[in-house]
């Protein structure tokens, strides 16, 4: 067989190499049992939400007993903003995606680096790509996975909304766009957190547990500290998802008013993760 000589080829540019890495990660995710389990979990959860919560939203949301239940659950000051959503189906969709997707990220991204680091599989990549390319390709591929799930969720919700209120299609379409964009923004710091945690953990399960513990303990710690020194409440801004409860009250373009928090958190966590991988003995 004729031997192809590398120096007769043009080395791929950095973005092209990044894209090759992303394509491989995506095909790996969707062809392995973990990916399939993620899809099944998502389809079941979203199917149930769509059938029992979103489809019946128009009658449920305006039901006084449901309003009382939601007021108790979310706090009265937030409910007003949430009820101001122009379409009931999208209001329910908004509430669900705000909390579902961070959990989905923790589940789907817990093995971003762990197994490959443990099995030293990363070594095969390190001689062909830079550590930055490997790190950011994995972050981007996991964000693309979340985007695909979010797209399925939002489009299915949009269809249900338009079927129920066909005259409101434009409003539904615009608000669906807001939801989709917000899902990516709120998922980004969780994805960056999972990259960092999966670099430190010894197994995917351990990475998931560490992430959950970190988030829970960080929240508890801030609550405790705030009891003694109220000004320390500012520390809560380092915790991914801190803005979620406030976002419930937002609707329309105002949903982006708190986007700076997850964007800054993402940038900080990405810098930490990239630094960690650069310093890692692989």
């Amino acid at each position: 067989m004729k031997r192809l000589v590398l120096n007769t080829l043009t080395p791929h540019s950095s973005p092209h190499k990044l894209w090759i890495l992303i394509q491989f990660e995506l095909s790996k995710f969707f062809s392995t049992s973990k990916g399939l389990w993620s899809i099944i979990l998502f389809v079941v959860l979203w199917g149930l939400s769509l059938s029992y919560l979103i489809n019946d939203a128009a009658t449920t949301v305006y039901d006084p007993s449901f309003r009382a239940f939601i007021s108790g659950l979310l706090g009265g000051h937030r409910v007003g903003g949430w009820f101001a959503w122009p379409l009931a189906q999208l209001a329910v969709c908004w509430l669900i995606v705000l909390y579902l997707f961070p959990m989905l990220v923790i589940f789907t991204s817990n093995d971003m680096f762990t197994t490959d680091k443990h099995n030293k599989t990363l070594r095969f990549l390190l001689i062909r790509a830079s550590r930055e390319q490997i790190f950011f390709s994995r972050i981007l591929s996991h964000l693309i996975i979340i985007f695909i799930f979010a797209l399925v969720a939002v489009v299915s919700c949009l269809v249900v909304t338009i079927i129920n209120q066909p005259d409101q299609w434009l409003t539904a379409l615009t608000n669906s766009g807001y939801i989709l964009t917000n899902v990516i923004i709120i998922s980004a710091p969780f994805t960056a957190l999972m990259a960092l945690v999966s670099l430190a953990a010894n197994s995917a399960k351990q990475a998931g547990i560490i992430a959950m513990l970190l988030l829970t303990l960080a929240n508890l710690l801030v609550i405790m500290l705030t009891n003694y020194i109220p000004s320390l409440a500012v520390l809560s801004y380092v915790i991914p998802g801190v803005q979620l409860s406030d976002m419930i009250a937002q609707h329309g373009a105002a949903t982006f008013s708190l986007s700076a928090i997850p964007i800054i958190q993402t940038l900080v966590l990405l810098a930490l993760g990239n630094y960690w991988l650069k310093r890692s003995q692989l």
């Binding site: 067989m1 192809l4 392995t32 099995n119 001689i127 062909r128 003995q281």
Partner: protein, 301 residues
């Protein structure tokens, strides 16, 4: 310019010194053997060369740059010890992916994957997943990935450990075939194998580079390793000591002598002729006449 340059290279793990002030310059050329006892630091040295780990102190450069420098990516290839391919994806898919990262187009990458799998005799297993392969087959796949493209430097950490004799021979042939364009550094405990393949030997001991031997360097004297099977060794030694061109005779064991002799360009095989004449005269039987000294004897005698 040297291919590899190490200056005061050291590595510590948890307070233990694994590599201790390695100073070496290596140029492109014939394969280089890296030997030493277990725990001598061979794998650590290769891992630093590959850019998997960074040194604790000192410096290392390949082609004048750090191992991880973008200029070196794709030019250094390695068979990492204990590294496993992704268990979920076929060998072809993974090797094609590696080839694409090295600059091949999608079609070229498939051809390159076929070529390297053919080199290691694994064409029939191309669609299998790594988990279905035996240890030896998995090792050959790892060797195949190290041969993708035309790397300038290939680091092989125990390439034939766990391989059957046929495939071990195949690996040696591949190294021999590619060594005109690629510099190999091969770590192994199989000294005979290294002797066949390599020109230079680096000997690491307790993290220190204690020897750097050139196996084919021209010298004023040469050695002959003579193993007899039926012979009076004292008489043989006595006869050989009479020869004016014999410099020194060392008895390695009951049957083996290492004879250092001056080279005679007019009669390069004079010592061999004399040994055969002695065998004929005394009706002795010889087992082996080896031109040179075994690597094992060079290192440990």
């Amino acid at each position: 310019m040297s291919l590899i340059s190490c200056k005061q290279l050291s590595k510590q793990y948890a307070g233990k010194t694994v590599l201790n002030n390695i100073d070496i310059e290596l140029v492109k050329g014939k394969p280089i053997a890296l030997v030493g006892p277990n725990g001598a630091g061979k794998t650590t040295f290769l891992s630093i060369l590959s850019g998997f780990i960074s040194p604790s102190s000192g410096s290392i450069s390949i082609n004048g740059q750090e191992p991880n420098h973008p200029q070196n990516i794709g030019k250094i290839s390695t068979l990492p010890q204990d590294a496993l391919l992704d268990p979920h994806l076929s060998i072809t898919k993974q090797l094609t992916f590696f080839a694409r990262l090295q600059g091949f187009s999608a079609i070229q990458a498939k051809d390159e994957t076929k070529r390297v799998l053919e080199l290691v005799g694994l064409t029939d297993s191309a669609q299998q997943k790594p988990t279905s392969l035996s240890h030896g087959m998995a090792k050959r796949v790892s060797i195949a990935q190290a041969l993708i493209g035309q790397p300038e430097l290939v680091l092989l950490d125990e390439p034939t450990a766990g391989l059957d004799p046929i495939h071990a021979k195949q690996v040696r042939q591949i190294v021999d075939q590619l060594s005109t364009t690629t510099t190999f550094i091969i770590s192994s405990h199989n000294l005979e194998e290294l002797e066949q393949m390599c020109d230079q030997v680096l000997y690491l001991e307790q993290g220190k580079l204690t020897r750097h031997l050139s196996l084919n360097a021209q010298q004023e004297t040469a050695q002959l390793t003579l193993t007899m099977s039926d012979c009076e060794i004292p008489t043989l030694i006595n006869e050989l000591e009479q020869l004016e061109y014999v410099v020194e005779i060392k008895q390695k064991n009951k049957q083996t002598l290492i004879i250092e002799h001056r080279l005679n360009s007019d009669s390069p095989l004079q010592l061999e002729h004399t040994v055969l004449e002695l065998c004929s005269r005394y009706s002795w039987q010889y087992k082996a006449i080896y031109n040179g000294i075994k690597l094992e004897d060079s290192l440990f005698s």
